[in-house]
């Protein structure tokens, strides 16, 4: 019956087919330039030694890591063909994919990886988390695509750490990694294996990446940062636009196609605008209030509990994130494999009277509590202002000290200078990456119980066992840790609905470091 129908009205059929095909063709075409309005120039693109998000956002198109996170924040291989852990977990062997090319035409081999990992373990920001556990990295004598790592004990966070490019182990050329030290690598050495290659950087005007034609994409369905990557767009231009209102105006005017980090209060208007797509980055970030456990008033655990008890987090979150927030005391959002409510009965008690009573019980007598906050980032400033206000009204004597970021970073490193300070924290794939767990991070949480739990957490393999330890660790944080979490907040980006497609779609949500492979210009 279908055949007779086709015979009788071939034009209709042809028309239907044409419409169907053009629907597919209109999507996903090659070509064009994507103009991204960022908050400012990155300091550099040597991703191993920088943790600012715009460096990761831009650099991830140029440099690859061994693993990468999928849409559920789970690590999947990117540059690896396979890997295998030994029975006791201390020996891990890796096999690289073959035929992966650097932007200068050289093929990726174990020599490049080993040199990069060595540099990262010594100087990389996140490398210091893994370095104490690594005994050696060995090349294979016979196969240039194989290498192995020997750990002192099973190291469970390995895949997650390898998947996190923010201060993470990006793979550079062997000759570049071997000579690299504490200082950033030169622009001429921005040679990676990613879908885009570094072309040009004029600070204050733009940073240009162009498609790498010989890119070898991983196979498999696209999921999160992983899976198939098609560089449809010819050229990516990252333009520093410091003023948020200008970033928005620029997208509306047609000068930019994507804009990063806009004030959350603009969300209702932007959402209503049909020409603009809004993107809430997942997972959410959060603000933190740290206490100085080394010296000064806040060494007192009870006083710390009192401070947390006094805080009503909803107004704090509203002032920081507008309507784009969620009250969540767990360090991971609901839906994450690491989500747990252990310890969170102490979250958001919002009871200033009981707090003051507890404080007096702790021996607090109205002494000055120094609270250091940065004015450079509005989220820090807004959070700090409301927190200081609430604590003052509860009866604490708060000395709110506002400095620019560079000063805050210097002061917070000195335990004589502060009692509380605030900063932000992005979503991370593994609890070991949470900064307050590092005893050297300002706050200096370093008790025997905590060290024991962290060691146990790091060396336990098997997710269920690790999760149980994590629950204990989170509960311990609430009991005696150095950090108060305020709640989850979402970062707001936008793109032009008319000009850009393929962003923030199923299986490829808007993640913390927005990526532009698989996107296309309409």
């Amino acid at each position: 019956m279908l055949r007779s129908w086709i015979h009788r009205s071939p034009w209709v059929v042809a028309l239907i087919l044409l419409v169907a095909i053009s629907g597919v063709v209109e999507a996903q075409q090659y070509g064009g330039t994507l103009r991204v309005a960022t908050e400012g120039d990155p300091v550099h693109l040597d991703l191993m030694i920088v943790t600012a998000s715009n460096a990761s956002t831009i650099g991830q198109h140029v440099f690859d890591t061994l693993f990468v996170l999928d849409e559920n924040s789970a690590p999947i291989p990117l540059l690896l063909e396979s890997y295998e852990r030994s029975e006791d977990g201390t020996y891990v062997s890796f096999t690289l994919r073959q035929g992966v090319l650097f932007h200068n035409g050289e093929e990726l081999d174990a020599g490049d990886v080993i040199a990069s990992l060595r540099r990262w373990l010594e100087y990389g920001v996140r490398g210091q988390v893994m370095a104490p556990h690594v005994v050696d990295i060995l090349a294979s004598a016979t196969d240039k695509y194989k290498f192995s790592i020997v750990f002192s004990a099973p190291f469970a966070p390995m895949e997650n750490l390898f998947a996190w490019n923010n201060g993470g182990p990006c793979i550079y050329l062997q000759e570049v990694a071997e000579v690299a030290g504490a200082e950033p690598i030169a622009e001429a050495d921005y040679i990676g294996t990613g879908p885009y290659k570094f072309a040009e950087w004029v600070p204050g005007q733009y940073l240009r990446l162009v498609r790498f034609d010989d890119y070898q994409s991983p196979r498999g369905a696209s999921t999160g940062y992983g899976g198939q990557r098609n560089a449809f767009i010819d050229e990516l231009l990252f333009i520093p636009v410091p003023e948020a209102a200008t970033r928005v105006a620029g997208v509306r005017a047609g000068d930019y196609d994507y804009a990063i980090r806009l004030p959350q209060d603009l969300y209702p208007d932007l959402q209503a605008n049909l020409a603009i797509n809004t993107h809430l980055l997942t997972p959410p970030s959060f603000m933190q209030i740290f206490r100085n456990t080394k010296k000064g008033l806040m060494v007192n655990d009870k006083l710390f509990q009192a401070i947390r008890m006094a805080l009503d987090f909803e107004p704090i979150l509203q002032s920081t994130y507008g309507t784009l927030y969620e009250l969540n005391g767990a360090l991971f959002p609901p839906g994450s494999i690491w989500y747990s409510d252990a310890g969170t009965e102490l979250y958001n008690r919002a009871d200033p009277e009981a707090a003051m009573a507890l404080a007096r019980e702790a021996g607090y007598n109205g002494e000055t509590i120094r609270y250091v906050v940065s004015t450079t980032y509005h989220e820090h400033y807004n959070t700090g202002t409301v927190v200081a206000d609430q604590l003052t009204r509860a009866g604490f004597n708060i000395d709110l000290q506002l400095y620019d970021w560079a000063t805050v970073v210097q002061y917070r490193a000195n335990p004589d200078l502060w009692d509380l300070f605030s900063s932000g924290h992005g979503p991370v794939p593994d609890p070991t990456l949470i900064t307050c767990l590092n005893p050297n991070y300002p706050g200096w949480w370093d008790t025997a119980r905590k060290t024991a739990l962290v060691d146990e957490f790091t060396t336990t393999t098997g997710f269920d066992e690790r999760y149980a330890v994590w629950e204990d660790l989170q509960a311990l944080l609430y009991e005696e840790g150095s950090m108060i979490k305020t709640g989850d907040g979402y970062i707001l980006n936008i793109s032009s609905a008319e000009r850009v497609g393929g962003i923030d779609v199923e299986h490829q949500p808007a993640l913390l470091f927005p990526y532009f492979w698989n996107a296309w210009m309409k």
Partner: protein
């Protein structure tokens, strides 16, 4: 006159030395650590120390200073901590939009301000005078980013006549049409400057219009317009030249707010970025170059005084 200028030129040197010394030590007094800023929020204390060592920040301060002076004498302004390129190269790159912006905005300011000021002086105490007063005040009191944002919303977002923000180099691309990126910012800046120029022109003209030589010209039968333009304006120009002189100089150091709003990577923005990142070499480089520019501009301004008013003599 030539001798005076030559002596002024030589006198610039002590000023430059003062600037070099003070800028070097002054910025290092300010708390804050360039290495910590570079590594980002999650770095540990050890890593920061490691980077400081690598950057040469742990040497004794007088050693650092002497090395700096040595390099400056060879024409090397140092290496930017933040941008990882020579400071001199960075300054040239960022100076282009700032210089063009300064020039264009002064042109806009003069084109609006002087006629407005002359008109207000001639029509003194009439409604026109008051209206121009209010308009002039609007120019100076409306915050620059508000004005800039409004101009951007009207001409770029609604009308699509010009790009809303950003900048592309004219010199390196050879494309003269890139100047369109600077048109909206120039108008924004110029409008604010126009107010000051209009007010000064007005008050200056008012005084000059009472002078004897003006009355004498009128008595001779010179047409009123000739009186105003040829005799009065020329003599009223002295304070205007002064203002243009250091307005231009001030703009060369960059109009930070306008550059920020319109995402123009100029010197003003560079100062803020460098200060916030404690990029000592860049800060010092900027102060040195700006000081030299002010000195040269002052020379030019003084020379212009002599041209405008032959009675001014330099001993």
């Amino acid at each position: 006159m030539a001798g005076y200028l030559a002596r002024r030129f030589l006198a610039m040197l002590p000023t430059i030395v003062i600037v070099l010394i003070v800028s070097f030590f002054l910025v290092r007094f300010i708390p804050g650590d360039p290495a910590a800023v570079m590594l980002g929020p999650d770095a540990s204390v050890d890593q920061i120390e490691q980077l400081r060592e690598a950057m040469g920040l742990k040497q004794a301060i007088h050693v650092q200073f002497l090395r700096y002076i040595g390099r400056v004498l060879q024409g090397d302004l140092g290496h930017s901590i933040l941008f990882h390129r020579p400071v001199a190269e960075l300054l040239v790159l960022r100076a282009e939009p700032t210089a063009i912006l300064a020039f264009l905005s002064v042109v806009v300011a003069l084109c609006i301000g002087i006629p407005a000021g002359v008109l207000a002086a001639v029509k003194r105490n009439t409604f026109l005078d008051q209206a121009l007063l209010v308009l002039a005040l609007a120019g100076i009191s409306v915050p620059a980013f508000l004005l800039g944002l409004l101009i951007m919303l009207v001409f770029a977002v609604q009308l699509h006549w010009l790009p809303s923000s950003g900048f592309r180099s004219i010199l390196s691309s050879g494309n003269i049409w890139n100047i369109r990126y600077l048109l909206l910012p120039s108008v924004t800046l110029g409008f604010g400057q126009a107010a000051l120029i209009a007010r000064l022109t007005r008050s200056s003209m008012l005084e000059v219009l009472q002078e004897d030589y003006v009355n004498a010209a009128r008595a001779r039968g010179v047409v009123e317009r000739g009186v105003v333009l040829k005799h009065a304006l020329r003599n009223a120009s002295i304070p205007i030249v002064t203002v243009v002189g250091f307005t231009f100089a001030g703009l060369l150091a960059g109009a930070v707010v306008t550059e920020t709003v319109f995402a123009v990577g100029g010197v003003g923005r560079l100062v803020v970025e460098a200060v916030l990142a404690r990029d000592y070499p860049t800060i010092q480089g900027i102060m040195l170059v700006v000081a030299c520019m002010y000195l040269i501009l002052n020379l030019l301004t003084d020379a212009t005084y002599a041209l405008l008013d032959p009675r001014i003599q330099y001993s």
